[in-house]
Symmetry: C2
Subunit: 417 residues, 2 copies
């Protein structure tokens, strides 16, 4: 059926005021639908330059997707510029006008006269309804057999319209003859290169493909399969998924939108157990991650943020003697913190973090990035020592420490079952 | 001198694997330098399509900025495609080759033969050094008086090269005859529309311009001034900045990269005072925000995450009677939490949050988004009731609650001085 091209219209993109997330979203959608896609263009709110972008695109692409410039202000001139380029008059759609007026009425506001232009479309174009905003888009077979679709620039509106109208249209009109389905497996505590080496043979596969990624310490293997339909693609993915999970062993913690906090929460819920946190350098970050999940109150009872050593002593029962002898950033203190919070809050598990997040505060013996995570549970107490590296940012070290503590709990829960 | 056009080369952009942050960065840079910029193009790693993008760009722009495709793999063919388009042979730069070999040696690795091609540039091109990676770029006056610059796709490398080499080059060669300087004033506790109405006259100004933005509850006024040089631009900004600060009153908390946690930290440090947190629905988020700042241990002592009511009673001394009578999400409990953590941790100030973050757990009387923030200090205890709205996400409500608690402390510190 030909290839698709994205034309984003908006001076705010040319000023760098906003990030072009619409292009990324649409590019992913083309990949999923199996529609070829070779060019993306950004152009300002200027009729001549929009005309030039259309002229160039028409020479090389058959499906032109426009985003932006559908609003009511004089700056919004995408529809007009397209109609003008194809020498086609604009016609008013009374049903669209009524719909816009009604949307205003429902919010208790009056429709401004400028909104009237949002009901104009080139003669022969079909209206592409906007379920979440006022500006509708269009689907139009313009001259020269180019298919044009327009969307507002607001990402939530664009995405809703794309999913609800454009995708069914493209599928039913033969644009999408295959689909790409992806599944991302997530791992913690293993480096991208180590996992990539282990997965060597898989990375050379052609369908499904397997590609490694890493992001904030989470290492990912993305499996992508192309097939006639979703079910066939998933049939290609599943055996590879099983093998890669086995390969990752204990490091594998979930798929797609899963996080370590979700993984830990599911395990605790299954077992009817609870956890409390004792945090020093993470300052509340572990509790924050755990409570991101709705319903976490089932297994998360709370914690002590012992940023100051006095709080470690008073609220967690850490020994002053230990603090003097080995310092706050030590295996002993991490374990005492975990034991202390478990006892104080009466939970099944206590996890703790103490470390040097930097950028200051490091020494030769205890450099920035040295972190101890501790865990106390029904069978006793343990710790792990992490060297997160002196070149990492404070933010990276803190996030990695919080995730490592959650991962230590996850592994303890798994090995305990 | 003409206008600039960005051409990003990379199949990963066409697959939607990555967000095109390079375009946004360069667009902002053009705006800052006062260089006109009307088009951005994305094209895959394909010689014919790169040629087509160059042909189109040469017709309408005089400065072509390429990012991506400078690596050592067969996919990386930006330099080659540019040279080929302008019918110019590639020549090897021995100094670049030596530099790449040395960079490998320093990391204790051997240079792969494929890296050799990174030392090739079109005849007549100047090497644009890469201080942070292996691939250098080029500055080249190609035929037809087009100035071409190439950069790697990795954002950190591209940005370092842009700042260190491209900006000085463009300034010294007359591309930038003016500069745009911006300053963003930040406000909390006031809506974007209210502030915009108050700032009405300023929004109509032409130089400097003033534009309102809002992001995660922080409302911003961005002042942008165009002038011959930085000092002249700042002279335009400063009087407007002063007036807008006055206009925002107590709601103004900082500029540019400032956060509420930074504002609070500065005030506490100045006064030699300390704070502790008692967190329910934020689960550690306030502590996490406060400890984002290096050196926060000077004024942040720690806190209690009392997600479960038992922790509120045991660690914060909240009355069981109060919990039974008015519930955990109440003014009384917020105040008792603040008093409790202040006393327990021995700080000047105690701040607290208790609320319903959703999506579940709301009722008619206490809907999702109902949050109480409390504060206890040398002069007593107080609270504020927030209605953050039932339609907001859990994440939004939690972040807004944490910021509101910090802001209550900020205002208390200011009114107390």
């Amino acid at each position: 059926m030909g290839s698709a091209e994205i034309i984003c219209v908006g001076t705010e993109l040319l000023l760098g005021d906003i990030l072009n997330s619409n292009s990324q979203y649409l590019a992913q959608q083309f990949a999923d639908l199996g529609i070829a896609h070779y060019y993306q263009t950004v152009v300002g709110d200027n009729p001549q330059r929009i005309h030039q972008a259309i002229a160039t695109a028409c020479e090389r692409s058959q499906l032109l997707i426009f985003t932006g410039g559908l609003g009511p202000t004089p700056d919004d001139l995408t529809t007009e510029a397209i109609a003008h380029y194809f020498e086609t008059p604009l016609v008013e759609h009374p049903d669209v006008l009524a719909d816009i007026a009604e949307k205003f009425a429902r919010r208790g506001r009056e429709m401004a006269p400028s909104n009237r232009k949002q009901a104009l479309q080139p003669q022969g174009a079909q209206v592409l309804p906007n379920p979440v905003g006022t500006a509708p888009g269009m689907i139009w077979h313009a001259k020269g057999d180019v298919l044009i679709m327009t969307f507002p620039g607001v990402p939530t509106e664009m995405r809703a319209m794309w999913q609800e109208t454009a995708v069914p249209y493209l599928r039913s009109h033969g644009w999408s003859q295959s689909t790409i389905q992806t599944r991302t497996l997530k791992f913690w505590g293993i480096s991208e290169s180590t996992l990539a080496e282990m997965a060597g043979d898989f990375l050379a596969m052609e369908n499904p493909t397997v590609a490694p990624y890493a992001n904030h310490g989470v290492v990912k293997l993305r499996i992508g399969a192309r097939a006639e339909n979703q079910a066939a693609a998933i049939t290609l993915i599943e055996p590879v998924e099983e093998q890669l999970k086995k390969l990752g062993g204990i490091h594998y913690f979930g798929n797609d939108d899963d996080t370590l906090a979700i993984a830990v929460g599911q395990l605790l819920k299954q077992r009817g157990e609870t956890v409390a946190v004792a945090e020093s350098c993470t300052g509340g970050g572990i509790g924050h991650l755990l409570t991101t999940i709705p319903g976490s109150s089932t297994y998360f009872r709370g914690g002590i943020i012992s940023y100051d050593n006095r709080v470690k002593v008073k609220c967690l029962g850490v020994s002053e003697d230990t603090l003097t002898k080995v310092g706050a950033v030590s295996a002993e203190v991490a374990e005492q913190m975990a034991v202390g919070v478990r006892e104080s809050l009466g939970t099944t598990w206590g996890i703790s973090v103490t470390g040097i997040a930097g950028p200051g505060g490091g020494s030769e013996e205890k450099p920035v990035g040295l972190v101890y995570v501790g865990i106390a549970g029904p069978k006793g107490v343990a710790h792990e020592r992490l060297n997160l590296g002196e070149t990492r940012s404070r933010q990276w070290i803190r996030n990695s420490s919080a995730c490592s503590a959650l991962d230590l709990l996850r592994r303890s829960l798994l090995s305990d079952s």
